[in-house]
Symmetry: C4
Amino acid sequence: MTRQKDERLENLTSRSRWRTILREVIFEADTPAGKAFDVVLIISILLSVTAVMLDSIDSVRALHMSLLYGIEWFFTLLFTAEYILRLLCVGRPVKYALSFYGLVDLLAVIPTYISIVLPGSHYLLVIRILRILRIFRILKLAPYIGEAQFLMKALQSSKRKIFVFLFAVLTMVVIFGSLMYVIEGGENGFTSIPRSIYWAIVTMTTVGYGDISPQTILGQTIASMIMILGYGIIAVPTGIVTVEMSHAFNRKVANQVCPECSAEGHDADAKHCKFCGAAL
Amino acid sequence: MTRQKDERLENLTSRSRWRTILREVIFEADTPAGKAFDVVLIISILLSVTAVMLDSIDSVRALHMSLLYGIEWFFTLLFTAEYILRLLCVGRPVKYALSFYGLVDLLAVIPTYISIVLPGSHYLLVIRILRILRIFRILKLAPYIGEAQFLMKALQSSKRKIFVFLFAVLTMVVIFGSLMYVIEGGENGFTSIPRSIYWAIVTMTTVGYGDISPQTILGQTIASMIMILGYGIIAVPTGIVTVEMSHAFNRKVANQVCPECSAEGHDADAKHCKFCGAAL
Amino acid sequence: MTRQKDERLENLTSRSRWRTILREVIFEADTPAGKAFDVVLIISILLSVTAVMLDSIDSVRALHMSLLYGIEWFFTLLFTAEYILRLLCVGRPVKYALSFYGLVDLLAVIPTYISIVLPGSHYLLVIRILRILRIFRILKLAPYIGEAQFLMKALQSSKRKIFVFLFAVLTMVVIFGSLMYVIEGGENGFTSIPRSIYWAIVTMTTVGYGDISPQTILGQTIASMIMILGYGIIAVPTGIVTVEMSHAFNRKVANQVCPECSAEGHDADAKHCKFCGAAL
Amino acid sequence: MTRQKDERLENLTSRSRWRTILREVIFEADTPAGKAFDVVLIISILLSVTAVMLDSIDSVRALHMSLLYGIEWFFTLLFTAEYILRLLCVGRPVKYALSFYGLVDLLAVIPTYISIVLPGSHYLLVIRILRILRIFRILKLAPYIGEAQFLMKALQSSKRKIFVFLFAVLTMVVIFGSLMYVIEGGENGFTSIPRSIYWAIVTMTTVGYGDISPQTILGQTIASMIMILGYGIIAVPTGIVTVEMSHAFNRKVANQVCPECSAEGHDADAKHCKFCGAAL
């Protein structure tokens, strides 16, 4: 790894040396400086997100307004500096600026600056909560990336099945919601079809707020059917994802081929082919 | 594919050429015209269903009554034309008219015509929401059909196990509901056995509206048992469906073909065809 | 099957012929008469349970009191006759009377007779709802028995794991409930430890009535932890049951041994050993 | 087993004989005396925990104060005696005192003594509920240990995947919560971002108290998305745990031993040892 980097350093003689070092610290995690940078950044992000949250509580805001104001500007300037450094040391700044994380980085600091120009833009400041997404970039470098990829892969290969399932759920929810609108009517809270569909979703996903609930016997009977249906069909996405994960897991384990008989399906800890006995 | 169609066109000289072309556009999805027709139809269905939903919100209805009226008649005439075309170009019109999708197609337009004869048939118009079912016919032609069939197959082969499970759940719900009716009584909302059973379903499926909830200590103890039971036994249908899906999936994966008898469905580690014994 | 029965009839010459026939009709399901008896019995049970349910609704009871009274006595006499016939034709009447279904049969008729002696024993009549359990006896004879046994086997072999899981859940619920009792206190509805534990069960099983809900920030933080915990650990019993079912399923499928190489693990539809090619 | 113990008794001549016997009774479960001690201890723990619970109910406390006071001191003295005996007979008392169970044992008796010095330390007494944790130590000796280890192993090997999943859930909850804070605002109960995040957790985990629920159409639309998301992604941890359990289970099942190298863990269809290549 170190050799590779040395070569890269030599190849990049045209660029200034400090940019390369900076890029390694900021964008990579395999040097002590890079790791330290990541840890400091995660803590900064978590602290600044906590400050945004506290700022939204009226009582806390009333008591510690100036403190929160100071913290906010400290982190805004810090993240602005980080954003500029990233722009400077990256190969193609425009591509970075327009990438997902580039936009998140920008959205993490912009609202604070706008709040000077447009005072009272209270809700705009909530955008800063998106800073939490920046942690995912750092996780990307960590050993967790393999696990995250495993989960994403299993979800992606079951994408179509889940789409069919979701569409079936939506259809059921639309039909049951409309049915309940007719049965219960506005006086029991089912004032319109969209509201009845909202109730059907609340019921079928077993959330059950209870802000709207059927009052007639027929309505309660149909509600019972929706509940049992929702309780039962959760088995479908669970089955889909489990089967795909099991497949992905087995593939990860069984990636060795016997040199003698070309048999596959050996365990990760196997040293000999289980069919012909040849050494793997 | 094109050759097949040409042959069909020649064989069907007795029929008018335009009916065959029309049928291909309407009922199939492998020509550009057929695909375009499907896309237009899906958008029309979604728009008309949205219009029906908006029509049920009193405030929207008061503001945009004439607009919604116009949209409704536009889609009704469009779907009527489509229905007539389907009847004309299909081989056996009566069979189509009495099929599931034929009835849905009819139910999608009839309520609007009836509303002229019978004004005030407010709830009748809700039937038009069934138009959403028509999307499934189009999905049937798309690549999603394989995934949908996979899900249906897994559910169907576990039909009996799920029936036994559902019957056991219903029995538990009836007995626990009756028990709570005795323990809590009418003053705490458990006014009758059906209502107590409704509460037991709400609780066991973990929906938990909270419109009825036990007040006595004994009632709360039994409610706790129902909750833990309901929380735990969701594992049963999930297990059933997962195992059936895993089985269906493994069969699909093992698609090695026997060179002798062309049989499929061999295990990944099979050396001989399991049907004729020939070496794979 | 018929031959077996003929032999049995000859062997049982000491017993009266009608008792044997009666037993076949009542206790078995492989003759047309036996099947008809089962169907009539299931319908009778469902009707009588429905009558008990309707009887508990005050408005229905007020309107149709004499009708429900007549129906109740009709079914009580019918089930009494059936109970006496079962006692008469069974080999060991005492053993049957003390068995689970014997007791259920008795409990299905006794309350109605007691209601003459003890008028006003309103709640005693609810015991008649246990009649629903009698349907399971009939299912025992049906093709569903195999599926029911499969489910019971999978649940039984995972009994110990589920016990460990349930005990862990109960411990968490007790500790979290006590913690919330200290944090929230009586003024927010957490008036005692048992009530707080009840709340913790309602929350952890994701039922969430909302009759008691935390009001302090610390309480809501801990409640969030309980919810995420409850949401996540449902994976544990699901995993246990799925793995056991998968094992039971595979065992059912793979019960053929190759006569040549004694290999196991063949599919249910295999005709040749997949390892050596010998005919199975 | 008995021979082993005899040897140990001889080897430990330097120690007093009664300490060894005491240790066997208290810390082990394979002698009749040890088993009896465990059963008595489990019953004592359950009774004392029940007493602590009942003590927190105001009405019970008012009626039976002196009885509960007596029970509490009886169990406190019993557990104190047990704690001192454990300290006496264990090899390294300091290590035991600082271990998890040593601290739980201390916390089980300390609060009662403090309540003499500091009267009114009402909430301190709740700590005694931790006595329930002591049952786990006894389970450790029972046949349940294998099952508990199996569950722990499956959970531990899926630790990282579950961490990634939980972090993704937390991020979604933070972003959706902040979004709802902006959309619904304080007048509908979403008074601050932390409170909105609390609502998002209540919704995504399908608990659904209903103490806070969206009132605007946009808010209800986003709430529906959160519900369907929460309903669907429960499949992810379930899939993870099921796959890990299945893997752990298969390893346990395949317990064929190699005649050459005594290795275990071969597949059911293996013909040769996968470690040394010897024929099985």
